[in-house]
Structure formats: C-alpha cells, structure tokens
C-alpha cells in the first residue's frame, strides 16, 4: 500500500512526509483504521478515510496538512462571495464586532459576505415533510448535515445508507440560492466565485466530492483557521481598508443554532435525538444497525464533540464558541424574510439521489477467497498477543492479522512473535532489524 496508490475519493488531508516522524499517534485514533506506518511515515488509505480530522488533531508534529484552496484563488472572479458559518464570529467573543469582522473580510478581497445558514429555514420546512413521509424501513432518518458522518456510514455502516436524508445541507442550499440570485441579476456564471469558509476538513471533501450525484456550485473552500489569523492581523494593525463589501448579517435563531448540538433536533417535529462525538455516534449506529432502536424518527449526528464549534479548524474553545452562538440566537428574529425566494430558487435542487455505500472489500471481491482469508485472520488472532500495542505499524492485532493475510505485513512485524522466533532460531537479528526498519524506518545505528 504505497502513498497515492488508492485515490478513488477526494482526500482532504495529506501527510507531509518531511515533517512526519512516524510516531503512530494518528494511526491509533483513526475510527476507520485508514492509517498505517510504513518506512517510518504515516500513510493514509484514502478509500477508508472519511475526513473526520481526528489524526490532524492528534499529530504532535503538525505533519498533517489540510488540502484547502489557495486564498489568492478568489481573485480569479469578479464577484467574490464568502459564505461564513455563524460560529466564525463567535470565536472573537465580544472583542470584535461582527460588522468590523465583515468589513475586514471585505478588505481582504471579498465583495459580498453572507451567513452560510441562510438556507436553514427553508430546509426545516422540507425536512419536516421528508421525515413525516419517510418509509418505515429507512427510519430513523439520519441527517445529511455532517459530511464525516455521511462518509462514516458509507464505509462502516453500509446497511444504513438509505437512512441518510437525501436533502441538501444548508451550505449547498445557500450556495444554490446565491447562484440563482446572481444569474437573475444578469451576472455571467464565470464571474461569480462562491467560497465557503470551512471549520473542518470533511466539508472541504463534501464540496469537492459530494455524495448522491450532486454537483456543488461552490467554487472553493477557505480554511477558517487561516482566515481567523488574517482577520486578527488586520484588526491588530488597524489596517482595514475602505471597501464596499455587501453584508448580510441577519439570520434567524434556528439558523444560528443549526451548527450546535441539538440545532437540528430543536427545530423539527417528531422524536429526534442529537449525538455528537465520533465514538458516541459509532456506538449508537451499531445499535441502529442491529435493529435495536425503535420509535426514533430522526437522528442528528455530528462527528465532533460540541458539533461544528469543535471543528478542527476552529481556533476558539468549542464550549465558548457554542455558548456564544446560543447567546446570539436568543435575541435573533424567528422569521426569514427571504424564505419565498428560497422556495423559488432551491426547490429543484433540494433532493439528491441515494447515497451509495463505499464497497471496500478488505479481503477481495471473491467471497470464497475472502472467507479463506478471514479464517486465516481468525487463526492469527489466537497467535498474536492481543494487546493492540501498534508496534507492528498496524493499529491493532486484528488489523495486523488482516494486513498479514493481505500480504502487506509479516508476522515477525509483531515484537512478541519476533522475540519468540529469534529464540526458536527461525529468525536472525539482522532479519528482525530489516523487518522493523521496513515499518519504522532507520532510527538507530547498530
């Protein structure tokens, strides 16, 4: 499994091999076991990667890069619209007024700024109808909001793909609205650049490589962490230049709360449950898959703790950011004045086609061969120590067994097996060192 070998899906994260020290911290936290260490460097298996960003958070040497769009890319367009998640403003707490932040965004080069959640109110109308009409065998309906969750289901819970709500997330609804609005104003499509300020990697992947046969009108994704620094810099230096940025600030309280945990469940009818945090979500989906969960109409599932306020590109503390959103929502209006326009512009785009499972055959497509391999894995599991130390360069003993059966690892990559086999005389020290260096690179002089 060499770097770049599996590239069927867009990858929002990249290992910078010059910075990676092969410490395997990322490998141990990956929820889909998409990482291995080889030649002293971490390697991502992109068929399995769901862009959740856990590895990015964990990496002690900042060797994992977010594959975002170059900021200067925006100047290729005459009209430069930035869709901003409300939580972005929440990071600055009360130190900088929203209006000042928007003016700074203007001085950085954007011509219009809008809350990305503008489409939420229209989505609520459609969601309530969708959930009411959902057939029994695709309940509970699972929100399509968090792209890392959608991808998690594709990879790890393929039997639940039909539970995923096939309504566009607010980001895409808002983008479609602006695309139509600019078109109606007579502006040629190639003059409009729609950029999304993203709090996480999963949303970059979702914009570049959406599910359900949908093509996004979004031109590019801007890294929120990067823009935060740029805004702070201009603010500190008082270097905000005069500009005519068009600002739309006003959104409803439902829209402001949408990205927080229970943002969706609070706004819809029926029995709805909100779960945040990857481990919590996986535990619950296991139960849904077993048919254990009855009487729940809707699930709001979010990859990050505290939902998007805990996104990997959010600089502020996730609890404070979420709290800021709730405070702002408490004084916000309840009615969206543009809802009629949304109905007019977005109705035709709202529904995408069913999400396909990511059929990843770990042991190959031939089921007879796969059964043989699995039996071998089961036997190996009895031999391996079962302590999941990861010193073999695979995340746990079972994963190592799988890698051995697939010809990607040697049983003597396990330190326990290695010592035993050296004692038995079936492996000499030089062979053992060569095997170790294959995984961890050359770390010592012997």
């Amino acid at each position: 499994m060499a770097e770049g070998e599996h590239c069927r899906y867009y990858r929002g994260l990249e290992i910078m091999t010059d910075l990676c020290v092969g410490c395997s911290h990322c490998m141990k936290v990956c929820p889909t076991e998409a990482l291995r260490v080889k030649g002293g460097k971490a390697v991502i298996h992109s068929d399995l990667c769901i862009d959740c960003g856990r590895c990015y958070r964990e990496c002690p040497t900042n060797a994992i890069r977010v594959v975002d769009d170059d900021f200067d890319h925006i100047f290729g367009y005459k009209h430069r619209l930035l869709l901003v998640p409300s939580l972005f403003y929440s990071q600055f707490e009360d130190r900088i007024e929203m209006n000042e932040i928007n003016r700074i965004i203007g001085s950085l080069g954007f011509t219009e700024v809008s809350p990305v959640e503008l489409g939420v109110d229209y989505l609520i109308e459609e969601m309530n109808r969708y959930i009411e009409e959902a057939p029994a065998d695709s309940r509970p309906v699972i929100s399509s909001y968090c792209p890392a969750i959608v991808r998690l289901i594709q990879v790890r819970f393929p039997s639940l793909v039909d539970n995923i709500m096939t309504l566009l997330p607010p980001l895409e609804i808002t983008a479609q609205y602006y695309k139509s609005k600019y078109r109606d104003a007579g502006i040629p499509e190639e003059d409009l650049g729609i950029f999304y300020l993203t709090p996480c990697v999963a949303k970059i992947a979702a914009v570049k490589d959406p599910v359900g046969g949908y093509v996004s009108p979004i031109t590019g994704a801007i890294n929120m962490d990067l823009l935060y620094s740029k805004v702070m810099m201009v603010h500190r230096n008082h270097s905000c230049t005069e500009n005519n940025i068009r600002i739309n600030e006003e959104i409803t309280s439902n829209a402001i709360r949408w990205s927080t945990t229970r943002g969706e469940t609070n706004a819809i009818r029926g029995v709805a449950l909100a779960i945040d945090g990857m481990d919590n979500v996986m535990e619950f989906l296991e139960k849904v898959e077993n048919g254990d969960i009855e009487g729940v109409d809707f699930l709001e599932l979010r990859c990050c703790d505290e939902s998007c306020s805990g996104g990997i590109l959010v600089r502020g503390n996730r609890f404070l950011v979420a709290d800021g959103l709730h405070k702002r929502a408490s004084t916000a209006p309840w009615v969206n004045p543009y809802i009629k326009d949304f109905r007019k512009y977005c109705a035709d785009y709202m529904v995408f086609t069913r999400v396909q499972p990511r059929a990843f055959m770990k042991y190959g497509r031939d089921i007879k061969e796969a059964i043989r391999k699995m039996e071998e894995v089961r036997n190996l599991k009895h031999t391996l120590p079962g302590i999941d130390c990861g010193a073999c360069g695979s995340p746990n003993c079972e994963a190592l067994a799988g890698d051995i059966v697939n010809g990607e690892r040697n049983i003597n990559n396990c330190v326990f097996m290695q010592i035993a086999n050296e004692r038995r005389g079936t492996l000499n020290v030089d062979e053992a060192i060569a095997l170790m260096e294959e995984i961890w690179g050359k770390r010592y002089d012997y």
Partner: protein, 136 residues
C-alpha cells in the same frame, strides 16, 4: 467458516452479542447490506428467543460462498404447539420479559419472513432446534 457462540437464558444484557459478531464478519466479507440486514434481524430474534424462553443454548453459524446457515440449539421448555407459535402475535413470554420490551409474539414469524430456508423442531422439556439459511 464456522462461528460458535453460547447463550445464557435470562441474560438480556448480552442478548444480541452473537448477531453483532456475525454482522461484523459479514461486513468484512463484503456481503451486500440488504442481506446482512436480514441475517441480523433473524439472528437477533432467534437469540432473544433463547434468552427469553430457554435455559441455555448454542448458536452455530456456517458461512460459505453460497450463504449463511445458522443453527440455534437450546435446552429449555420446548414449544408444545409449533404451528401456534408461528402465528403473529402469539407469545408465551412472561410479564417480566414483556416489561423489557420483548415477547410481542413476532419473533418466529419475523425470522421466517427474513430467511430462505426455515426449519424448527422441538421436544417439550428438552429444547428447540431452529435452523435457517440465508442465500448471498
């Protein structure tokens, strides 16, 4: 490939363990999701039947390229009238079991509607053997 699990009567905390394990195996084999769904429903119902009604049991699942055969062999009170037990809504579950949300009398009919082959035999005061097959 043969997978064997033991089930203790009355232990509702562990009910569903065997079906969860089988589900994992079938997912790794790349069996289509709709088939896995049927296997899980049938196995879960059958597993709960042992927990709710029998004293103990052994579940043996055989997987090959044609499909999965599951044999659930329990020691227990047995089923005096199998035809009646196959009717929707018929249940002999105790109030205690019903209070836990089981015993709606949908178990056996639900299993049969999800499988391709279905056999059941029972001896009163000895036990029940349920055997089903689902094609891949």
């Amino acid at each position: 490939m043969e997978l064997v699990y033991t089930v203790e009567g009355g232990d509702f905390n562990k009910a569903g363990h065997a079906s969860s394990q089988i589900k994992r195996v079938l997912k790794q084999l790349g069996v289509p999701p709709d088939i896995i769904k049927r296997v899980v429903v049938a196995m879960y119902e059958a597993e709960v039947n042992i927990v709710a009604h029998a004293w103990r049991g052994v579940i043996t699942a055989g997987v090959d390229e044609s499909g999965i055969r599951v044999v659930l062999d329990d020691e227990g009170p047995g089923i005096p009238n199998i035809a009646q037990a196959m009717e929707k809504g018929y249940s002999t579950a105790s109030q205690e079991v019903r209070d836990m949300g089981f015993g709606a009398g949908m178990g056996l009919p639900n299993i049969r509607s999800n499988v391709d082959e279905f056999n059941i035999s029972s001896v009163v005061n000895k036990g029940t053997v349920l055997d089903f097959f689902i094609r891949f």
